[in-house]
């Protein structure tokens, strides 16, 4: 059973509908006591990093998620939910994140190295380049296009966490992860077959349990 963390930010509807189409059982909850009954968690999210962290603290979900990860159970962050897995964000000054993965969210500059101006947000379909094709999330998939909408991008020096990247005037970490912590910058639930396959793969990771990461 997958628990979707409801903290008041994000399109929970589309994620849950996608899981329904895949026949993956799930529930939505904001209560850590309920979420603790799940075998895998999804942290969705759209909007401001700072607001999201404030809500996660207010609802006492931050401590719960940290414990969950320490216990080695699978967690998938989507879009803003993925960025929250990192150390922090530059948005509105500086906000500390959950800190599972090394790196910070920074705003796209809007100006390429060549001096050319480009549009922010990075919105639309972009191609994935697999950095770790053997990762469980990428099983039985091929490099293809997925749907992105974001103005902030993860900056990391730790290449080990990059499972797939994309290119938008710079390198864009698109699928990230370390052991039981995983995330996608794009919206798998809006990314046609490739995105659906990755959600299905997360479902398999959850079903197989957390043993493989121990």
């Amino acid at each position: 059973m997958i628990g979707i963390i409801d903290y008041g930010m994000g399109n929970l509807h589309s994620v849950s509908k996608a899981l329904e189409r895949l026949d993956l059982s799930y529930f939505l909850s904001e209560a850590p006591a309920e979420l603790a009954k799940a075998e895998g968690l999804i942290l969705p999210g759209v909007g401001s990093f700072k607001d999201a962290m404030t809500l996660l603290k207010e609802k006492e979900q931050e401590a719960f998620i940290k414990m969950w990860v320490r216990d080695g159970k699978p967690l998938l962050g989507i879009c803003l939910g993925m960025q929250l897995l990192f150390e922090g964000s530059e948005e509105n000054g500086s906000t500390e994140g959950l800190g599972f993965l090394p790196g910070y969210a920074k705003r796209f500059t809007g100006e390429a190295e060549s001096g050319e101006n480009y549009k922010v947000p990075h919105m639309g379909w972009n191609k994935l380049m697999f950095q770790q094709p053997d990762h469980p999330l990428l099983q039985n998939t091929e490099e293809g296009h997925v749907y992105f909408v974001h103005s902030y991008v993860i900056d990391t020096k730790e290449e080990d966490v990059l499972i797939a990247t994309s290119d938008y005037y710079r390198e864009v970490p698109a699928v990230v992860g370390h052991k039981n912590v995983m995330g996608t910058q794009f919206h798998p639930e809006k990314s046609s077959q490739l995105g659906m396959k990755m959600l299905e793969n997360f479902g398999k990771v959850v079903a197989e349990g957390s043993k493989k990461y121990e």
Binding site: N11, H13, S14, K17, A18, E20, R21, V46, G47, G110, N117, K119, V120, P121, H122, M123, G124, W125, N126, K127, G144, H145, Y147, V149, D167, Y168, Y169, H187, E189, K190, S191, S192, Q193, G195, M196
Partner: protein
């Protein structure tokens, strides 16, 4: 790098698609859900539903349609038509639409754009602009009420205004080209695209697959929207995309 998006547009009246796809073997060519799935399969990058219902009942039906489409579709979709207040946006977005598109209501009360964008994020807020060339103005003038009512706005002034107020995307329809099937309005699209920093969806005038090359290559649109050309099988999303690929335009 990002690919150029192809977006079929469906007009929905009282919960039924009008000018629906007549050619394919669908159980029900007026069913928005079935048509949405059909275009998804063809490789459409996104869909736009325009609610042209006149009645309150029709609008309520639209919410049901949105909910059903959201349950089936694994690509983003936008809903426009009759969205006049924050509550309307909330209803449609909660039902599962990814974006709402504002038109007349935004011109009447531009604060609506800001309110929507502050509340839901600018990525959810599309502003639809209907523009027609005006000799007196020496540029394009904005019209509202489905193109019936002229306003005082010049197109780039209005485009900049909506972006300043938080619009995440502009759906730009050329009234001069709409229905003419002689190609997109490249000059208009280019002008607006150069004036703003958000994605521009060009609409109006697509008559053949060749028309899509210019709108992406010359006018630099981020996406192109078309309706009848796809509905009446003059071409298909697949065909347009493979033609664009041949011409070196990046598509999914």
């Amino acid at each position: 790098m990002l690919t150029k998006r192809i977006i079929p547009c469906l007009d929905v009246k009282e919960g039924r698609v009008v000018k629906g796809v007549q050619f394919v073997d669908l159980r029900d060519a007026g069913d928005p859900v079935e048509l949405a799935a059909f275009y998804d399969e063809q490789g459409a990058d996104e869909l736009v539903f325009l609610d042209i219902s006149a009645s309150h009942e029709g609008r309520k039906t639209m919410v049901e349609v949105v909910r059903e489409v959201a349950g089936k579709l694994a690509i983003p979709f936008t809903v426009g038509g009759g969205i006049n207040a924050l509550d309307d946006m909330r209803t449609i977005l909660r039902a599962g639409a990814d974006k709402v598109s504002l038109n007349t209501a935004a011109v009447k009360r531009p604060e609506l754009i800001t309110e929507g964008s502050d509340y839901f994020g600018s990525q959810c807020i599309v502003v639809a602009i209907d523009a027609k060339y005006d000799d007196e103005l020496g540029s394009w003038r904005i019209y509202t009420h489905g193109g019936r009512k002229p306003t005082d706005w010049e197109v780039t002034d209005w485009a900049k205004e909506v972006v300043k107020r938080g619009a995440g995307e502009i759906l730009l329809t050329s009234m001069d080209q709409d229905g003419a099937k002689t190609g997109f309005d490249l000059a208009l699209t280019k002008k607006v695209n150069e004036a703003v920093s958000v994605p521009v969806i060009a609409s109006g005038g697509a008559g053949a697959k060749q028309d899509f090359v210019g709108v992406f290559e010359d006018a630099q649109a981020d996406a192109a929207l078309a309706a009848s050309i796809f509905h009446y099988k003059e071409t298909s999303v697949e065909e347009v995309k493979s033609y664009l690929r041949e011409k070196g335009v990046r598509v999914r």
